[in-house]
Symmetry: C2
């Protein structure tokens, strides 16, 4: 564990600036705007360095000095520090010479970037004395809260839209969590969770613990910079559900620049959504100050948030950095999944299909320069959404274990004529 | 990438010692025994150190000086270096005070320890000039060969027993691999692959490339030692299919001791199998020189190798180190999966269920000391074998998004009387 001071932090209202110290609260009681964690970075300038970070563990906790972690907290799980992979084959298809995949499909423990935010939220849940934690979730968050709560000895209760993917439901129940399927979409689930958090005095990671939770996303930004050799990319393509991740990557980059750890650079932020739930990209494309809520209808259920809490902030960030918001159809989502698997050997879930397909679209539109450094954020694993691939692959017939039978079958697979016919043709 | 010399290596027959240099070959043509990679460790003594390793990347390539990697090979993928997690909760259940889980369920890229062996095999496949690679596989290997071949631009053709888990089949096809389902068990598949490798001049990772492939397993041993703070555990519990992994962990430990990187220590090796395919544990229990081949019948399909190539060596190692071989029923496999998820938040596949359940059995039998340092090797992810959990969990009914409805449902879940009744009782 890296030693050295941690940046002092407090909750403040993003809009009116009212300060709240440290408490489980996400909305300003004066102006009803969201609260956010603000740090005194000057207190750690010079002591948080490339070297102090590199001396830390191979997990998000190497950045703990820049996270809202209660004093005395002992990190328990090696979450994050996932691979950043140079995507040469994908780049060839897109005509991009310097493109990378940040691969949270293998994030410990539950194979999505949600493990990062949950780790930070639960560190605070314990500090605030909650014995039960919960979440409103489109799936990945449910998995992560259930798994990490089990490990930490906390009780958990997770609310999800009733129609979630079977793999994500099983991958929540297996950890012993209480799971409640709500007859409604994510936005219904989320509103109910606010009521429950108050009524039951539970720590909902993305409700009353949301400001702490959201900070966990910064670690994806820190890792990108560090894994690029302590430099910032020119472009980042980020999937958007609630709209928080994209903002926090920007916040991470800004902090590293402020601390003198990386050189300042103009980074463009690109947001990806599924067309069937695209309030943020719609707002970007139509230059709206505020997104119009939508009723989600897409196979990318982990992005299906029709009224994203951080939507306005995400749209503004995209515009201000000169990026763009783009969305893709469900058919393109599946193609995106296949393209990433076939080129880079990375199997991502529907959200990653969205991001990959949107990236292709952005290159085709000329919105991203072909020789610039671009990072594509893959946030979850394909084994969680296998249902969308059903019927896409023929598993073929069972073949007898004999060389001649194998030979004949391989010719079938490759669309070649059978061996005897081939000989006749050759004569 | 860590610089410094790599240990020179050659293929030799394990039994008669005949030397074969470097070639794609797995069986001695004199005595028909298996070939193995032998190193000149003296050549790197003093230059391969804790520091030189720690200066390398967060992947198996930090150990490249001790792997059979062709000169000039540039590692492409950050495989391995998975978390070693102290398992306090599991330990509490077992009465073990110092137990760890080595968690290859999150291995990059395809969530199993097979990614390690495939990475080393494919480095050699390129070197030997194969344009097509293949494998006979019980699933995890298929996934890994397909993914890594896609990334490296190699064609792949994978043979599997026809009845494999759907998730493992999909997770092979998604990468664009040719997949052939063989009407037979793993041993039939494996024999056919030997014929195909010769006939087609393909590089089968676990047939003609097997000696290189198998060395990749050593990296799990190196990581365990490094992650324990450069010391060896007292006990290791390892799942056994072909019987190779357990041997290679031992080989890794021995090399580290020989090089002066860790202190010598007597480590006991424990092997885990499913009772429905337990040739090695049967040999251990009955003190047989050679295992009797079995016809596999277990849900732990990734361990279902009835005639394991390294069975005799594994059994001997277990006996010589004073360990033990134990096996568990399919019901216990499922309980093992659940136990690891509920205690440590780690969702493993059937093989990990076997290892967890066997570990519990070994503690119950008093074969492992409660205060000794024990490492449990978890080799694959639970999302690949969700079929064995079907019907084990009730997803419950969909609940209307209202607090009162939630409240009532939670009482149902927790087995409490409905709220009104509760009030009556309290009166």
């Amino acid at each position: 564990m890296s030693s050295g001071a941690c940046a002092p932090y407090d909750l403040k209202c993003k809009e009116c600036g009212k300060s709240y110290g440290k408490q489980p609260l996400s909305i300003c009681d004066e102006c009803f705007s969201p609260l956010e964690v603000f740090y005194d970075l000057d207190a750690v300038k010079g002591s948080v360095t490339r070297e102090s970070i590199a001396a830390g563990p191979a997990s998000i906790w190497r950045y703990r000095a820049l996270l809202p972690i209660p004093e005395g907290f002992q990190p328990d799980l090696p979450v994050g520090f996932t691979p950043l992979v140079k995507a040469k084959n994908l780049g060839k298809r897109l005509g991009a010479s310097d493109i990378y995949v940040k691969n949270d499909a293998v994030c410990f423990p539950t194979l999505s970037f949600k493990d990062r935010v949950v780790a930070v939220a639960l560190a605070n849940a314990r500090y605030f004395g909650f014995d039960t934690v919960g979440a409103s979730s489109t799936g990945n968050l449910a998995n992560s809260v259930a798994a990490q709560a089990a490990r930490l000895g906390l009780k958990s209760c997770i609310l999800i839209p009733a129609d979630l993917e079977p793999a994500k439901i099983l991958n929540t129940l297996i950890y012993g969590a209480r799971l409640v399927r709500i007859d409604g979409n994510y936005d219904h689930v989320n509103r109910l969770c606010s009521l429950i958090a108050d009524q039951y005095n539970w720590g909902f990671v993305n409700v009353n613990l949301r400001p702490y939770y959201a900070e966990g996303s910064k670690t994806m930004g820190y890792e990108i910079a560090e894994q690029l050799g302590w430099r910032l990319p020119d472009n980042v393509v980020v999937p958007m559900a609630g709209g928080s991740l994209i903002r926090k990557i920007k916040k991470a980059f800004d902090e590293l620049v402020y601390l003198g750890i990386v050189e300042a650079k103009h980074v463009k932020f690109f947001g990806a959504q599924a067309t069937g739930c695209s309030p943020i990209t719609h707002a970007v494309k139509n230059n709206l100050d505020r997104h119009e809520p939508q009723k989600p209808n897409t196979i990318a259920r982990s992005l299906a948030i029709g009224n994203p809490a951080d939507g306005p902030y995400a749209a503004r960030l995209i515009r201000e950095t000169g990026g763009w918001g783009e969305d893709v159809s469900d058919v393109e989502v599946v193609s995106g999944i296949q393209e990433l698997a076939e080129t880079e050997g990375i199997f991502t879930e529907t959200a990653g299909g969205v991001t990959t397909a949107v990236t292709a679209k952005l290159f085709a539109q000329g919105r991203i320069g072909k020789d610039e450094t671009t990072v594509v954020c893959i946030t979850g694993n394909g084994l969680k959404t296998t249902d969308v691939l059903q019927g896409k692959y023929d598993v073929g017939r069972a073949v007898k274990p004999r060389l001649a039978e194998f030979d004949a079958y391989l010719r079938e697979l490759d669309g070649l004529p059978a061996a005897e016919e081939a000989e006749l043709v050759a004569q």
